[in-house]
Subunit: 283 residues, 4 copies
């Protein structure tokens, strides 16, 4: 369909524009197909040793990509801000060591070029979903982009942020639902699985779910991961830490490598019944 | 554990008070076990013929209970307010005809006694979750109560509403998540599946999910039903109408009997993989 | 204008239906005129002595009406539920003693008749804004009704609740904004003064503001009261307690009679500049 | 008080750290004193002629500063993105012509240096409140910063964003409340005047209010401006357009210069009664 015939506010990212699912490949991870790749790793890279231990653990359990924050957007200036460039170096080294592609968050348009030397996927975090200078910058690259939903963004605004990237020339976009802000205080955020079903209807872009941030509680990660796959998600993003109580950030929502392995086993079963494979090729 | 040792605000409904799941039986429907009963029917009873057609359809597809509103709490005084007593008569008659227990919403403490003559389960709707006069009235009966979450109730407030019923002497409570109010406009409400996982952790009460109200869009009912079961729900409440475009209320979120049958078939598969049975005994 | 020409969902309560402000008189208190009556008193009636002390204090400071809860809708069944009938007796007695009309919350349609013997205004609380059985019951009386906004009600739903009362035959309705539920945790609720300006545009009904519940913090009551008058409110509802730290409910948001007197003095000044009188006749 | 004795998460911006109000001067505009400066101008600079007409109008009515967007953060990539550098040139020229300091939004850390050549105050918009790269960049300058609240930011997060700027070395911060996102659809946002009273309690920073974005409806700007001053705001930010129906953005919430003059006259009266001057020196 021609762009100017499309009646929604988002155009290039709509199903009207492209009826078939977009398929984004990163190494062996394929988003938007029958596969369900799982991205795993710590919130923040803390040291080479920490990351290697986690990297080995998640690789063995079947993860398809290694995540790790080097530039951390923290609410407080007094919180750990990340290892920055050194963090990226550790991430790249461990990724190569364990044989997994890597992803890390970019928070500054000036850092895009640097990041591209170290990671395979650029993550745009929830706080930067409408950082249009950053969206325009990554739209000029050929890097796959993981675009998280803003914490109080409507689905339409989220698709419009993706539209910025696609209009700029980069079609390799994976959306990521990570919970919205509500009045509820039991959970850190309210993971919105409705959004997954809506996105699959109205857009051709793949969508994955981050139940770790979405709930803020590692005990809820397993049931919400199962539900994410059942609702139709194209992948998961799971926080894994070798020693959650000592994590510099997001400890309470991080799984141990051992619990991550249990999760992967559960997901394989539920994926199968839906005709999908959770990282089967990785075993 | 003794009540006064329990540190949460809710006591009798907590897992500390009772570690085992409460099991509520209504006819062959069992809530809180490995079974996953599905309650189905129209938002409002419109006529005997309408209800009979729907009742036969959902019965055949495997529903465990027939729902139908007779006293409708409508935002506008100019909207259809329900057939009232006549609606209850139709509901009872059709329930007997097709062999299903029935459920309908009670909105007035003065109507509790009347309702008990006609239905097997009393529903407390979202708008009445903190109608304490009504909660106290139903707490004195021995009827099973379906307690919907208020549209902006926290999980704790919801459990406290259940506590009112349990303190009053009635332990037959089934909770029902039906979507919360957020800023999102794509869906009518935001179905909160986090709440299901939280409830299963902190309470022994069974919890079911109403994806019809929770999303407001029949096309989202199937994926969110699958997700509800995957996250651990003990049952579903699905709006079914023989002619959704002509429904006096909630047409856009109602399934046809035919689509309901497809849904039941999908759910059986996903239930099985989780070691649960979606209404197997009904076939 | 004829009802069926009015295009909004609410009809009788709209400015289209009646362009002039509705004026509701209760004793010397006039809502919807240039006067700005202030209703004051404790959240809950605790004893005759308590209420008398508070009643004398607020009367002297210029309050136009005495409030006091006798049937309290409490989140927890373990919280103080009110003195019930005895509370109403104290309220009536103190009202007569200090020469002020009285208001108390009705939570049960079966209690409407009883309440009418004791109070001059019936309050419908936030939790009961869509308790349609209750709305219909009070619509049959000739009592003035104070209708609080539900904690997550849209302005339109609130007006529709008022429409229920007006359709039923009772035109004496005063709306009361009392804060909505948001993600903010600094305040108990988020007092929505936008709603006051909107209501004045679209409806002829008077609207007052309850900054005590709206903020949950007595230190915020003064600035938000000033703002309420500046935005166009037709009155205020202020929680006053003789000993806030010992109050059985809502202590943190209650003013002492002394601070209430200071508030009244501030409000008189700001009211004057807007061409309105804050309870001048009461001095 | 020493920083490490302060118990809140925000330190340098707290009242504990500095009990006296911070006073920020920009030309004759003084924020944080008894003055109430009003910033006015169009959402977007559209042409020199447009801006000059508006600039003259608001100057004559008593505005203390001229606003105008040159780099517009728009939800859609297909919306007008601003005149960019040319817009800044027009803004600087008109500011000099009418004798008003200027403010415009900066959205990219790479643009801070350029912006400093053209404007007197840098605005950080709601979408960038947690754009930490941008906050760190402006913290290195000596420019006054107007920091808008994020559309779903808690008050604490907002103060933490200000803390980033102050930790970086820039103390010239003015906060701006601009409405939060709620479920309400009558208004574009819900202007949160509670936040003004809270900020005045817990922080020494001046806070102004933007009722134009906060409500999205020009008819609500006047009552909410009055309320903002009554609640204790240190200034206002008002959108003014010479031809609202033809505005490229935010027309529905813009005042004409004539209505702006009426607003200024109303505000002078209410300011006076509170012992404050709304731009008196400007006449």
């Amino acid at each position: 369909m021609e762009i100017d015939e499309i009646k929604t506010s988002y155009k290039l990212v709509s199903r009207e524009y492209q009826s078939q699912n977009s398929v984004i490949r990163v190494g062996k991870a394929v988003f938007g197909s029958l596969d369900i790749p799982v991205i795993a790793g710590p919130c923040a890279v803390e040291s080479y040793e920490q990351l290697l231990e986690i990297g080995k653990g998640v690789r063995q359990a079947g993860a398809s990509m290694l995540r790790g924050g080097a530039y951390k957007p923290r609410t407080s200036p007094y919180s750990f801000q990340g290892l920055e460039r050194e963090g990226l170096e550790f991430l790249k080294a461990v990724g190569q060591e364990v044989g997994l592609p890597t992803i890390s968050e970019v928070t500054d348009p000036r850092a895009v070029e640097l990041m591209m030397e170290y990671v395979d996927v650029l993550q745009i975090g929830a706080r930067n979903m409408q950082n249009f200078a950053l969206l325009k910058e990554v739209s000029k690259t050929s890097m796959p982009i993981l675009l998280k939903r803003g914490m109080s963004a409507t689905i339409e605004e989220w698709l419009m942020a993706a539209e910025y990237i696609m209009v700029g020339g980069n079609e390799k976009i994976v959306l990521c639902e990570r919970g919205i802000r509500t009045f509820e205080t039991f959970t850190r955020n309210t993971l919105d699985l409705n959004a997954v079903a809506v996105i699959k209807q109205v857009s051709h872009l793949p969508i994955i779910v981050d139940p770790s941030h979405g709930t803020g509680d590692w005990q809820l990660v397993n049931p919400l991961s199962r539900a994410s796959i059942a609702v139709g998600a194209d992948g998961l993003l799971i926080e894994v830490h070798n020693n959650p109580p000592e994590a510099v950030s997001d400890g309470p929502q991080s799984l141990t490598p051992k619990n991550f392995a249990l999760l992967m086993s559960d997901l394989a079963t539920i994926g199968e019944i839906l005709g999908r494979q959770v990282s089967k090729e990785k075993r």
